[in-house]
Amino acid sequence: MRKISYIQAINESLKYEMNNDENVIIMGEDVAGGGDRDEKLDAWGGPMRLTKGLVKEFGRNRVKDTPISEAGFVGAGVGAAAAGLRPVVDLMYVSFYGVCADQITNNAAKIHYMFGGKVKVPLTIMTAMGVGGNKAAQHSETLYSIFTHFPGLKCIVPSNPYNAKGLMTSAIRDDDPVILFNNRQLMGLKPEYDVPENSYVIEIGKANIEKYGTDITLIGIGYTTYLCLEAAKVLESMGFSIEVIDLISLSPMDEETIIKSVQKTKKVIIVDEDYPRCSISADISALISEQAFDYLDAPPRRLNPPHTPVPYSKPLEKLYAPDKETIIKNAQILLE
């Protein structure tokens, strides 16, 4: 099968869905690029090139460059969704949530409930997250934890081009507001993943067991799944049997897969690039302790960055987020 990049995978899904359903539109800064000038159409195709080519195929009416007004255009996405479209809105970096949080958490998340189930908001927000770009405290956050906190939102995190494509498709077709978090490092990886040409969906709410094993469970989210798999290779070469769960969906979360795995392996490490406090890793750790208490050989272990903003300086940034070595080291401690 052919191998494509994460970015191309998302792009293919968007293209397919736009063909499939004329209600799908895209809005965001530079998603077409060049504003309204014919000769400069598709100048950028999105800051990460996720939407490249789409404006040429579907026109400016459906691929809309926006001014830098996240509250305005994310809110417009909510309204357009409530009125029957299926907008995909690009929030360039997740840290910019701060200027449009009201639209996401007060409107998108709550309208269906507040209106007694009579209005749907089939909005998809895609946003970039993660360290590694030397971009400092305002462009490197992860933040999926705070959106998972809010009832009414669905939060999903692909970990490779294959599930990126299927999850994007599911997100667009989903009748609830969905936030898709794209890790910047995953978007930069070489295309090593087999991805079908046809369209397919990956169920929102299901975790994926990437590797079966019996000695310990490693739980990854997006890029940290990639790290867990890399670490697992090393640990297996040392003779351990490693189970790797790709969480994929933070809200809803596949509690069953987590609990069953931990009941089997009795040991667990959760690897999370978000800040540690009130995080998804704390959420998972609490879940495991509360529901699989008697099965555990050791308390769950969480690997997160420290309780600090993301530093700029490269050597500091390298120390910041959990990496392969940290995972191996911690697994070894638990496995001994």
Binding site: S69, G72, A76, A83, N106, G117, K118
Partner: protein, 327 residues
């Protein structure tokens, strides 16, 4: 006090009279329900009836309206049923929102009322997106979004005016300038003291109008609606109006405004004014107006009875409607 410079159909004038009266009677009754402790306060729209009434008299049923924390009058003007509204206020299962939204969140998509919203300024971008959907789908639907003088200081208004202008969206931004945001007078909070003047910077018509005159409201919104419906873009209307009651619940407005000022506006009451016009010009007579009053009152009474007799939501309702699907 200028009134009417264009021809307004007689049926429309009577429709407006009945709507405004219904709003006032509904609000009066809703306040009584609040006083009885059946809801813990509400934002009364008494005094501001003419603003949405003048506009909605020209909207089609599939046109959209979005409102604010103070939106009962918007809902009634757009045709939401009194029964389900009153039931919503009392938190009943038969309410517009099944009792889950309450006074600040009434919505009825079948009537084109896409919701009140409790966060000041928050609905303006949403409305812009609703207008965008009409534009993209190439329907000729018009969207009207109401907000207060206080809301005009939110960045969301400016972002939305800019978007609506560059995209020529079929939307009308209606600022109900009732002089106060809670206790803060607009003369203090609005630099330049005119919301309408903000439009020019966005290449959009900005009109200030006497919001206490249903006929003036009719007139300016006619132009704005036509402009929107023809795809020529947005308009900002600043309707000068007044809320007779306090901001919310039992707020006593005399702590921040004067009786003289209150009387000034009450002397120009929108319902009285239209009534005098109708009588003076012999468009109707007192007898017929009395019938309208009876009819409106009966509708409100029936709504109140319906709401009070309706059941509360069952406890399972606590968990439903969070998602369309969640596995």
């Amino acid at each position: 006090m200028k009134d009417k410079s264009i021809e307004i159909p007689k049926t429309t004038l009577l429709w407006m009279y009945e709507k405004m009266l219904t709003i006032r009677l509904f609000e009066t009754q809703a306040n009584r329900e609040a006083d009885a402790g059946k809801l813990l306060g509400m934002h009364s729209s008494i005094g501001q009836e003419a603003v949405p009434t003048g506009i909605c008299s020209q909207l089609q049923s599939n046109d959209y309206v979005l409102g604010t924390h103070r939106s009962h009058h918007h809902c009634i003007a757009k045709g939401v049923e009194l029964k389900s509204m009153m039931a919503e206020l009392l938190g009943k299962a038969t309410g517009t929102n099944k009792g889950k939204g309450g006074t600040m969140h009434i919505a009825d998509i079948n009537k084109g009322m896409l919701g009140a919203n409790g966060v000041v300024g928050s609905n303006i971008p949403v409305a812009t997106g609703v207008a965008l959907s009409a534009k993209i789908k190439n329907t000729s639907q018009v969207t009207v979004v109401f907000f207060g003088d206080g809301a005009s200081s939110q960045g969301s208004l400016h972002e939305s005016m800019n978007l609506a202008s560059i995209w020529d969206l079929p939307i009308i931004f209606v600022c109900e300038n009732n002089r106060y945001a809670e206790s803060t007078p607009y003369e203090y909070a609005v630099a330049g003291k005119s919301v309408a003047d903000r439009a020019a910077g966005y290449k959009m018509p900005g009109i200030s109008v006497d919001g206490q005159s249903a006929m003036d409201m009719y007139e300016v919104s006619k132009t704005a609606i036509e402009r929107a419906r023809k795809g020529k873009g947005p308009t900002l209307i600043e309707a000068k109006t007044y809320r007779y009651k306090g901001h919310f619940g039992a707020d006593n407005p005399l702590t921040y405004r004067s009786e003289d000022e209150e009387n000034y506006y009450k002397d120009r009451d929108c319902i009285e004014r239209l009534k005098n016009y109708l009588l003076l010009n012999e468009i109707t007579n007192q007898e017929k107006l009395d019938l309208i009053y009876e009819k409106s009152l009966t509708a409100v009474d029936e709504a109140t009875a319906f709401a009070n007799e309706s059941p509360f939501p069952s406890s399972e309702e606590l968990f439903s409607d969070v998602y369309v699907s969640y596995k």
